[in-house]
Subunit: 334 residues, 2 copies
DNA sequence: CTGTTAGCGCATTCAG
DNA sequence: CTGAATGCGCTAACAG
């Protein structure tokens, strides 16, 4: 299809120099006369030469690409993460190749094989639930990888992310500090999602006879939150606050209250997770937890590059979320 | 870093056969004895051999990857499109490599160079505004590309998408058919966005002394829609409907009306664009236009593959949006 | 500072 | 049906 594209040989011929010299200037080696350098550069753009990546990769045994496998790209948290990751990697001279696992270990494994087959030099995984085969594959082939969005120092592989248990516990503490004693906790599917599971456990750890928690699982979207809050409110009239493990669920709560006569935060306090871009624009502005996704991306990129370039080993690092207090959580009025 | 990975030579050695034979079975050639085939396959998984993609690409001059450059991945429309595209391409044996242009022609050009340097065999662009250099680059190197999300048969390159002009015109007609004569049209930045521009022109084409349109530009997010609707309502009390060229803007309108005493759709009808996943869950359910993003993705993938595999030329195709009528647009009560 | 040469791992003739 | 040999475009010693 694509018409003949110039090879290094062509520009060598054009300049009358050897391919080795051309290779040198193209790769920015210093031991070249400024004059010949210019000569080569001119020829390059004249022929608009572009080095063949396959040949380069074959020769250097380096592809300069790293792979990321995420459950879905249709959630802003992941989209933001990927966006930031692409940036950081790009800045470091690396390319990101992406695959979607649909939160399925099987798919994740398949994707990894394919990405490996594309020459990925390192992997970025999401969450801490992966098939043993996958881990084994990486181990056997000696492929470096990082697990993100979670921080779990007990593993024998590096994780860069936050402590979901603590995050949820802190959120509950925050709400409780406002005087709430009956809190609904809305979250997405537990299956195949260790992050949600850890958050749930974190919240649960604070349950006591002074603090009643009601957990509700729903689909991870606005419709899910809407349905969940209506159900839980119907069965338990004492609830005065809803903690949502995702902002989209919180928006669902906002919608679910419409027409019920209840107002936020007067009749129900609502707290989210993620600090999605519209969290501040919503009425009333949503109190939520800002997750350090972009920071994770930057940290992940920098560590991977450090490893690939200088062999510096990757270490786990914990990053922290931050409660953004707006107007959706209020003191319970006695 | 990565420990020695088996090459084709290793499995040849293991089986006592030649590398040619191994290559044959790995690539599924038919002229191989079932017995030798099995022998090779066994050795492959025993050594867990994975063909080196660079070597293969170098040898065949095919990378089996296609590139897509989108303005941002942080908008669900693009996220969905990419997600579907990845699927379709994957199914066809191709890989998708992605780049973000930030709606900047400069960045887009740079990204294209890089992707070309990664061996992309074809390109998928978004919208119809691209730098001449980029088009020239593709032309010179004879790289096939498709422009998407728009349909513009007047171009000399293929476009697969919808007619933004008509889509907006139809939306206005729909609202007008309910008796509205003063409509606010909310849209995102016009700069560098030909899709928004075409929609605006489509709406504008229906302006008349029986139909007054008030255009408001804002940032493309919930906060933007919220601010925009408040401003326009303040200046023009006659407006009875708001057409938003994006559902996120429509959500902004929902939020902007809170506390003003106005209700949707009684006091203000609202119509969106995109049919984002929460459009139905919102209160009241949002009337909007469903865009055929997944269909576009499928069509794009299939045409690109047909071209790359069989040389079948790519043709422009128009796909249609569909008005999803819910409860946010009502008849104007006289 | 520049040129020569030998692979990198694989597909693909061409013989056998 | 199978093997030996060639080359894809480039980098990396090694000479000069």
């Amino acid at each position: 299809m694509s018409g003949k594209v110039g090879s290094i040989r062509d520009v060598a011929k054009e300049t009358g120099l050897s391919i080795a010299t051309v290779s040198r200037v193209v790769n920015g080696a210093k031991n070249v006369t400024p004059k010949t350098r210019d000569r080569v550069m001119d020829a390059c753009k004249k022929l608009d030469y572009l080095p063949n990546p396959a040949a380069k990769a074959l020769s250097t045994r380096k592809t300069k690409t790293v792979a990321a496998i995420i459950p879905t790209i249709e959630h802003s948290v992941f989209a933001k993460f990927i966006s930031a990751l692409e940036q950081s990697l790009e800045d470091g001279g690396y390319s990101l190749v992406l695959a979607i696992s649909h939160a399925d270990e099987e798919d994740e494994l398949k994707a990894a094989r394919k990405l490996l087959g594309m020459g990925a030099e390192a992997f970025i995984l999401s969450g801490d639930a992966h098939s043993p085969e996958l881990l084994d594959l990486f181990k056997r082939r000696n492929v470096p990888f990082i697990v993100t969005s979670v921080w779990n120092p007990t593993r024998d592989y590096p994780s860069i992310g936050y402590n979901n248990f603590m995050l949820a516990a802190n959120a509950v503490k925050f709400i409780a500090s406002k005087g709430h004693r009956d809190i609904a906790v809305l979250h997405g599917p537990l299956l195949m999602n260790d992050r949600t599971r850890m958050r749930r456990e974190g919240a649960l750890s604070l349950q006591s006879d002074r603090l009643e928690l009601t957990f509700v699982e729903s689909s991870l979207d606005v419709a899910g939150g809407k349905k969940a809050i209506r159900e839980v409110l119907e069965h338990n009239g004492k609830i005065t606050a809803a903690l949502c493990f995702s902002d989209v669920l919180a928006l669902g709560v906002y919608m679910g209250l419409k027409g019920t006569g209840r107002k936020i935060p007067k009749d129900l306090s609502v707290m989210g997770f993620d600090n999605i871009d519209w969290a501040e624009a919503v009425e009333p502005p949503l109190t939520t937890i800002e997750l350090p996704d972009r920071k994770i991306a930057a940290e992940v990129a920098s560590q991977i590059i450090a490893l690939l370039e200088y062999g510096r080993p990757i270490g786990s690092v914990e990053l922290f979320g931050k409660i953004i207090e707006r107007n959706s959580v209020s003191d319970v009025t006695v």
